[in-house]
Every structure is written in C-alpha cells, then in structure tokens.
C-alpha cells in the first residue's frame, strides 16, 4: 500500500493518464483506485440546498415548540451558544405555522410544503439528527462538501471520481449546476478538486445555451471544419510523437478525441426533444414564475437524470438560498415550490428507469435553523430563524439506502439531537461506504500527509444501509 501511495503522490501525470486509459479500456483496471468492496451506489445526485433549510417547517414537527411560541428558551440550552445574528438575551421561541401529516406506509412526517415529495416517503431515509460544528455559511458548506471547513480540500464528487473514475466516455464525470438567488458563498470551491488533480474538478454547466464552457465551436468554424482541424492536430501530434516520444503527446491526442466526442454528446444531453411531454410536465419544466427559478430547477433535475443515465458519476444541483433570517413563511414556501415537484419527479423517473437502485440521491443544506425567532438588531418584527448547526434534517434515497425510515430525533423544541446523532463526517463515511469505499482507506497524499474526506473522523451509519 505504501509503495502504491508513493507512486500516486509522485506521479500525478501518470495517475491521470492511467485513469484516462482505464476509462477507455486501454489499460487493465489494476484496482489501485477501485472500490474496496462491491458498491451499492454507482452515481450520485446531490441536491444541495444552500443556506440552511428550516427543518421544523419541513421534516421535524415540534408541537411543543408551537405551544411555547413567544416564550423564552430554557436558560440551560442557551449556555455557551453563539449565533450569527440573534441577540440571545431577548430571543423568543418561534412556532411553526405549517401543518404536518404522516405519509407512506412508514408514516413519515412531512409538512404541507412538500405535497409531492411526500408521495416518496417509503423511498427515502430521513435523518432528523444531523449536526455539525459550523454556524456560518461558507465553513458549513465547505464542511458538507469537502469534509473540512477550510478552503483547499476536494469536494465529495472529486473524491468519488478519483476513486472510481468517470464512467462516461464523452461527458464530464462530475457536473455542477446552479439555480442561484444570491450566489454561492464558496463560488468555484463548491465543486473544486482542491488538492486532487484538476481533472477531478466538477464542470460547471450553465443554465442556458451550450452547457460547458468552450464547448461550442467559434462562430466562424463549422462542425466539418472542427472535425478536419482536430484530425490535422492529431495527425501532426502523432508525427511529433514519433520524433520525440514525449508521452504527454499521446495523452494530448486522446484528449482531443475525447473533447470532440464531448462536443457532440453535450448538445445531445441538453436537447430535451426526446423527452415526452408527460415527463416534462412531471418535472414542471413548463412552470412559469417571475424569476424563472421554477423552470430552471426543473430542467436541472431532468438534466441530472440524463447525466447519470449517460454515465456521469456525480451531479450537484445547487439551489440558493434557503437562508431565511426573515420572511421565513413566504420564502420557504417559495423554495419548496421551486424544488418539491422536480425533486419528487426525479425520484419517480429514476425509479421508473431502474436507475434509482444504483443512484444515490442526497437532499440537504449545510445546517438547519433555530427554533428561536431571529431578533437581530434592526429587525422590526421577528419573521425568520437564524443558523442552527446543533440539529437539522437531511434525506437520502436510492443507491443502497434503506428507504421508508426516519433516523434519529431531536428534543421537544428541536434544539439538540436526542437520538442517533449523525455528524457530517458520519454522513460522508456512509456515502463512501455505499460507493464501496472504506472511508479510512481512500486517501491522497498532499504536502506530506495522506488526506481523506473524513479527516480523522466518521463512522458508517449502519441503520441507513439497505
């Protein structure tokens, strides 16, 4: 193992080449990046809800909190607690106006904001006992996406592509798409390969027109000219290779071929004309709203399915922002409206196509929101909730997840975790497990140390496994 690591750390170029050749079936898979055991999940669609969705208004009903609406919080819970904005001395508990019902055979709680998702209660594992130790957005998002609150580490999608390679010959192995309100705090760090080689970085797809940067030919260059150009480039590169034997030239030739294939595969990917009207309607592509977010998110969900269908390993859809410090009721309803229908349609569609078994779907933000109303100075009325890392909800479905269960619980006002706490590191360990990796063994050497997604933490949450 040690010598293999040394090989990896000293020969990044050769690693990239090896993985590329392997993808093309030119090199026998020599297993140094293969999973440690048989994976249940082969692809992942990560629905990232940027900003911190309010768990007690969506997934974690708290009758007691509603009862105590307007009262001060028990002193013992506030000790040592810090907030981004809330002034804790005068803060009061804020009940939820939502109505909850139990859904599916499993009887999972969901609020009236999730009329579509509730049809899938028996497919999903709801975790109501997530917690972390970051109460600011970017550190929290980096922790959720990379396993550390600091910039510079690879995102989960990069780790999985590093571990398994892309299974698509003509599309990127890792794609990020956005439906943005206020922008993403981390920008490109949200899909960065960090210290892993940059070919494991996510490719940001744009929301309209050509999906990948530089995918379209320059205006004056016709497809036939492009074809002839690449042919000539590769022909000349081969001549040069025969003189210099520089192995980089061989990779370059291969990459021009891949790029060319990508140029035809990507437009085919975004061309939705082969989708039925029923499918488009199910996702809600035709929905219209002022911002265009409803249609945009629906399209991204549909594209996510098309991507995993074509072998892309990891897709992240960012929806920004769930950061409702004020106007929680209306803003949360707006976000739910944007996402509920397309997400439910995505689950159904994956299921109908037999893809859900091997596709892990993850839904969640970087933390939750306080049971306290936010009374930051300058706010006339209390209409929102502050950041809350001590307990929040997420869910996963497909890809080896045992659906139809609610894992963990919070105390009666929804402050702390009461049962089955799941830290973000545990979530990561579990996800890697679903993909066939022992999270302690998937490592990469950088600046003299072997790094892993879970740092020195993480336990697989067995209850989540099918």
């Amino acid at each position: 193992m040690a010598s293999r690591r040394r090989f990896l750390s000293s020969g990044i170029g050769s690693l990239a080449l090896a993985s590329m050749l392997r993808d093309d079936g030119l090199l026998a898979d020599d297993s140094f990046q293969a999973p440690h055991f048989a994976p249940k999940a082969k692809r992942c669609i990560y629905l990232f809800m940027e900003g911190g969705p309010s768990q007690m208004d969506l997934f974690d009903p708290k009758p007691k909190l509603n009862e105590m609406d307007g009262q001060a919080m028990p002193e013992s819970l506030l000790e040592g607690v810090k907030f981004a904005f809330t002034e804790k001395e005068t803060a009061r508990l804020l009940g939820s106006p939502r109505t909850f019902k139990k859904y599916g055979q499993c009887g999972m709680d969901m609020s009236d904001l999730l009329p579509h998702l509730s049809d899938h209660a028996d497919d999903i594992a709801l975790i109501r006992s997530m917690y972390c130790d970051q109460f600011n957005h970017l550190p929290g998002q980096l922790l959720m996406l990379t396993g550390t609150p600091f910039r510079g580490a690879p995102t989960l999608g990069s780790w999985l592509n590093y571990g398994l390679g892309s299974s698509s010959k003509d599309l990127p192995g890792y794609v990020a798409m956005t439906t943005l309100g206020r922008g993403l705090p981390g920008g490109a760090a949200s899909w960065s390969s960090g210290f892993l080689p940059s070919n494991y970085s996510g490719a940001l797809f744009r929301n309209e027109g050509s999906p990948v940067l530089n995918l379209a030919n320059p205006d004056k260059i016709s497809p036939e000219m492009q074809r002839r150009t690449i042919e000539a480039v590769n022909d000349l590169n081969r001549q040069r290779f025969s003189e210099t034997a520089n192995p980089e030239i061989a990779s370059r030739i291969k990459n021009y071929e891949l790029a060319y294939r990508m140029q035809s595969a990507a437009p085919e990917l975004i061309d939705l004309s082969d989708e039925t009207e029923a499918t488009k309607e199910a996702y809600g592509l035709n929905r219209e709203d002022k911002t265009g977010f409803q249609a945009s998110y629906a399209r991204n969900c549909l594209l996510a399915r098309r991507l995993v269908e074509r072998g892309t390993r990891f897709v992240t859809l960012f929806l920004s922002t769930w950061d409702q410090h004020s106007k929680l009721d209306s803003e949360l309803a707006k976000n739910a409206k944007i996402s509920d229908q397309p997400v439910a349609a995505l689950l159904q569609d994956l299921k109908d196509r037999g893809l859900l078994d091997e596709t892990l779907v993850v839904w969640g933000g970087e933390f939750g929101r306080t049971p306290l109303g936010e009374n930051r100075s300058g706010f006339k009325t209390v209409t929102g909730r502050d950041h809350h890392p001590y307990s929040f909800s997420m869910w996963m479905a497909g890809g080896g997840i045992k659906g139809g269960q609610t894992l963990g619980s919070t105390d009666e006002i929804g402050w702390g975790v009461e049962k089955d706490p799941v830290h973000i590191h545990d979530l990561h360990a579990t996800i890697l497990h679903l993909f066939g990796f022992d999270h302690e063994e998937l490592t990469y050497r950088f600046q003299g140390r072997d790094f892993r997604l879970t740092d020195v933490h993480g336990k697989v949450v067995k209850k989540l496994l099918a």
Partner: protein, 631 residues
C-alpha cells in the same frame, strides 16, 4: 495508515466554534518528521565536483552519476530549441522570429558566446522578474480577495506582487528578499519598500463572515503564517502533518507553538504608499450599488508588530483547541534544528527571519535551490519541494544539491547567478528527446519536455498572435469572462477590461478566489488556498476544448491568420512556414508541411473563404502539443 482516530468527542450541544477550533488546530499539532540522521538536516557539504570529464561542476556531478549507471547524456539540443527553452524558462515568453534569426546567426559564429550573451540578455529582461515572481507568488499563496463568503477584494494586493517582480529583476539577494517579507517592518528605519514586502503574510485567506469567532479566525491565520513559513523556506510539511502520526523524531506539540509564537504578536496594518506612477482607477471594481468609486489612496497590505502593552502570551493549545491553554511558550525553533539566539532587544520575528540564513542552516539553501532547479528541469533534485521530511522524496543528486546550495549561499544569495550557472551547463542544454522511453530520467540523461504553466499557455498565444501587451506591473486586469462564471460568487461584478489591458500576461489576471479564471484553472493554476511550491500537470479534454474554442485563443488565431493572409495571400505553404516560425520557432518538416497543406486545402474547400481557411490553419498549429510545450 498515517492517520488515526483522535480522542475527540462531538456533542450537538458543544459550544459553537469550539469544535472547529479543535479541528483546525489539530493542524497546529505539528509533527514534521526530523530523524536525527535524516539527510535534509545534515550540514551542507561543500563537495568537490568529481573528475568525470567536465569542467562545469553541475555537469561533473550529473556525469558521475550517469557513468555509475552506465548511461550517456543526450547531445545538445539544436539552437532553435535552446532559444525557445531559455525564453520560456527565463521569461515565460517565446522568442519572436526576428530574435530567432539573430540568435541563429550569432550561433553560427560562436555558439558558446551566442548562448552566454542570450542568457545574460534574458536575465536582464524585465520579463524575467515576472516569470520568476509568478513562481514565488504560488508559494506566497498570492491572491486578490479574502476567499470566504463575500470574498472581499484586495484592490492593492498588486503592490506586493510588483515588489516581488522588482526585487527579482534587481536580483535582490535572496536572504534580504526573505527577511524583508517576514520582518521588513521590524528592520531599523524600515523603508516603504521593506514594509510592502511584509505583504507576503497578508496573502492568506481571511474569513470575515458575520457571527464569526474572531479569535478563532485570527488563530487560523497565525497557523497559516507559521505553516507557510515552514513550507516556503524549510520544506516542512507543517500545515498538514497529523498530530499523533509520527510519535518519534517529531517536533513536539510545544515546539510548534513556540514557532507559532513568532507570528502571534503581529498586526495587519494597511499603509498608505506613494507609487512611482499614478495608475488609472478604472480597474477598481465597483460595488453593486456604488455609483463612482472615489479616487483611492494606494494602501499596501503590510504587517506590523502590536504595541507592547497589547502583546499576547502564547500558550500551547491543548489538543489544538485554542480555548484550552496549556503551558505558556516563548518564540523558539525546534530543538532538532540549528540553534536560534535572540539578541537583547531584537524582535523575535526578525530573529527568526535572520536565523533562516544562518551559516549552520542546511534547509533554506537546499530548499531554495531545489525550487529553482525544479523550474528549469520540470522536476526538482528532491521531487517533493514542499516536503524535505522523511516522508518526502530523497534527492536524486545529493552532492549536486549541496554544491548548488553552498555556492548559492557563498555567492551572496544571488538567484540570477544560480540560474545562470544552471542554464549554462550542458545538462540543461541537453536534448529532451525521449530516446529511451522506458528509461526514467531521474539521472538526467536528457532534459525534460515540460508543458508550460497556465499563465504561459495564455502568454504564448498572445505573443505569437501579435496581440500581446507587454506592460510590466500595475493593477490587475479583467479579460472577458462569461457571466455565468463571473457571477457565481456572492461578490461584486467582473468589470471587463478594454483595449490593450485585455492582452496582458496571464499573471496579471485579477485573482479572485471565488472566481478563478477558468482557463488558468484548466491548466492547473493553484487555487491559492495554501502555499504551493509544485503545480500539478494534468492533461485533460477540458484543456483541448479550451485551446480549441476559448474566445481569447480563437481571437489569437483570428488575428494571426488574418495577418498571414494579408502577407502571403494564396501562398499557403509560405503562410504555414511563417506560422510555424512564429508559433513553434522552427520550420515545418516536409511531412508536417504536407499535412498542413492538405488540411488547408480542405478547410478552404469547406469554408470557401481563403482568409478564414488561413485562420483555421493557424488554429491547427496553435493547438499542437508542441505549442504549449517547452522541449
């Protein structure tokens, strides 16, 4: 496994920020491995070059090793390759056809003096400072924004960047260059320039998000400064060593905090500076709702020392938790290293900077010459320039490394002399042809072919096309960027540069941490989160798409193709030869000419537009691997 589970418990009710502190400051529980007999910590030898048939000491060391292995060195590369190699290595810019003609002519008369003259001219070029500054700026994790939410812009960061360029161009001795960056503010009667130099440690990431634990954020910066110092000058893997991994031979927990203590009483202070030139303010980004930014006063980011009454005591942070103080420590260096004595009244940070250049420090000279060697051969004598510990690579040529280190030190720390010495050697001038593909090149039986770095990929295109704006220094620029890329962060817009500023070198592209310029990222420019002394070199389909379709690169092909068509009309072969000379600094061979003539014919047939066919043919040449390779 090098990692093991730490006895940390997490509880949902734990104090916010508390656990983060644990996590981060774990970083602080540094344990670079220092075995007593580890090669890197042994005193530098002053080895005599072996008698192996060469007068040049570098060649003597390399030949001796080759002889041992029964290998022969490669012949000298032809002059056109040598000239391109020297241009790209020393200035990051390719030669023009005119420079090539002049060089070839001088070479015919006297190769040795033609080479020496050319090397001296390139060492004297203002672009030399740019190229070598870029290498240093990677180590300095230089960027122009804070990096976290908001990603606040650092409008005047470039003043430090220009200081680096000027320092390298004037061949400021490396010891002074270093001491000024670490402690310029503490030098007697510190000049404006010496204060600007301390911007080195202002380049770290900075989190200013609301509700942040300020002491934690400050602690994080101090950890980064200590770690970057260790990485840049000592080849120590401080930032990332795990605390419980190397139970023996380690720098103790306490020693890390002694090292940390050197940086614990500094203050970030922006100083008003007088620039020698008034720069236009159009380059300053406007806030979203700001009408016209007021005329700004240049303010360099600098360090200063806290007033004595505010001095912080440094404690060991138990298990890396800054809220749990252990024993109090004072500034000091690890016992395994050469001793540091702090003179009466000498500020500790200045003493540390001077300690790096003490005669008995074997690390700094080795680490520095290795960084420089790496830039001239693609790989260092120690292949892990950021790790001289027991887990790093061992030197391929230990005696050569020591000879270089001692002569660098004895020369008064002149980087130009060192680079000249290396570039003048036969070892450097060997052909890079991979005659024996199965034979690794750690013994240097040939030069390496190296893909040029990201900024140079851009610069080569600009120079070859004739669009290039050679201005050195000044505020950074914003070449066109699609809005879906530039608007992804929560920050202000990307104010597109107009006119000649669109065609500045890659190193002048505004370095905003949340919006890294995609073309640079595609070619492995680092993300500036931490000190980087070795860039990855990947080879990806995204690079192919970038070279083929990036509007900037197409604009280059378009400009050059049009010019060639004006000049050569329908004489495609003449135009192809001309393009080859401008882009690859050589003539095409008959096979290449035939391939390109045939491609040109087809492209003309397809486009029915002779000018466009010429542009498209130029584009073929600009997509060749050789164009972005330094052979």
């Amino acid at each position: 496994m090098y990692t093991e589970t730490l006895p940390l418990t997490f509880s949902p009710k734990m104090k916010a920020g508390h656990l983060i502190a644990k996590a981060i400051l774990m970083i602080g529980l540094i344990t670079p491995v220092i075995a007593d007999d580890h090669w890197a910590y042994q005193p530098i030898q002053n080895p005599t070059p072996p008698a192996s048939g060469s007068q040049n000491p570098i060649d003597a060391f390399v030949l001796a090793k080759l002889k041992e292995a029964n290998f022969k060195p490669s012949p000298e590369a032809p002059p056109h390759i040598l000239l391109r190699r020297a241009h790209l290595d020393l200035t990051g810019l390719p030669p023009t056809p005119e420079e090539m003609t002049a060089f070839q002519k001088a070479w015919k008369t006297d190769p040795q003096s033609a080479w020496a003259d050319k090397v001296d001219a390139l060492l004297g070029s203002p672009h030399f400072g740019e190229q070598w500054a870029k290498h240093w700026l990677d180590i300095a994790r230089y960027a122009e924004s804070d990096g976290y939410l908001g990603d606040t812009l650092r409008h005047w960061a470039w003043i430090y960047r220009d200081w680096v360029i000027n320092s390298i161009n004037s061949d400021q001795p490396f010891d002074q260059f270093s001491i000024e960056q670490l402690a310029g503010d503490l030098l007697p009667n510190a000049s404006q320039s010496q204060k600007i130099a301390t911007g080195f440690h202002r380049n770290n990431l900075k989190n200013t998000e609301a509700g942040l634990d300020k002491e934690l954020a400050r602690t994080k910066q101090v950890v980064d400064r200590a770690a970057t110092t260790g990485n840049a000058w000592l080849g120590l893997t401080m930032a990332c060593a795990e605390c419980h991994d190397h139970k023996h031979d380690a720098i103790s927990h306490e020693e890390f905090f002694q090292f940390y203590a050197f940086f614990n009483n500094t203050k970030d202070s922006d100083i008003s500076v007088k620039l020698d030139k008034e720069w236009p303010i159009t380059t300053i980004e406007k806030k979203k709702d700001e009408k016209e930014p007021s005329k700004p006063t240049p303010k360099a980011q600098a360090l200063s020392i806290l007033p004595e009454k505010e001095w912080r005591k440094t404690h060991v942070h138990i298990r890396g938790d800054y809220t749990r103080h252990g024993e109090e420590v004072t500034p000091g260096v690890p016992a395994a290293m050469h001793p540091l004595t702090i003179a009466e009244g000498e500020p500790p940070r200045l003493a540390l900077a001077r300690w790096l250049f003490a005669d008995d420090n074997p690390l700094t000279p080795r680490v520095t010459v290795n960084q420089i060697w790496q830039k001239l051969f693609g790989t260092g004598i120690v292949a892990t320039p950021d790790d001289f510990g027991t887990h790093g690579a061992r030197p391929s040529h230990p005696l050569l490394l020591d000879w270089l280190a001692s002569s660098f030190r004895d020369s008064g720390w002149s980087r130009k002399k060192l680079i000249r010495e290396i570039v003048m050697s036969d070892t450097y001038r060997q052909s890079s042809t991979n005659t024996y593909p199965d034979r690794p090149n750690d013994l240097l039986w040939r030069q390496n072919s190296v893909r040029v770095n990201a900024e140079t990929v851009r610069d080569i295109h600009l120079v070859a096309s004739g669009l290039f704006t050679p201005t050195v220094g000044g505020p950074s620029v914003h070449p066109p960027l699609p809005s879906f890329v530039s608007d992804v962060g929560r920050s202000v817009k990307w104010p597109e540069s107009k006119g000649p500023n669109r065609y500045r070198r890659g190193m002048y592209i505004f370095l905003k941490r949340t919006v890294l310029y995609p073309m640079l990222t595609a070619f492995d420019a680092p993300d500036t989160s931490s000190s980087c002394s070795r860039r990855e070199v990947t080879n990806t389909p995204m690079q192919a798409l970038t070279l083929l379709n990036d509007p900037v690169f197409f604009e280059c092909a378009d400009a050059l193709g049009k010019e060639l068509y004006r000049k050569h009309g329908d004489d495609a072969d003449a135009a192809i030869t001309d393009t080859f000379q401008r882009c690859l600094n050589r003539d095409p061979n008959p096979g290449e000419l035939a391939t390109l003539s045939s491609a040109h014919y087809d492209l003309l047939d397809e486009s029915k537009n002779p000018e466009l066919a010429m542009i498209a043919t130029t584009r073929v040449i600009m997509n060749l691997n050789e164009f972005i390779t330094r052979d």
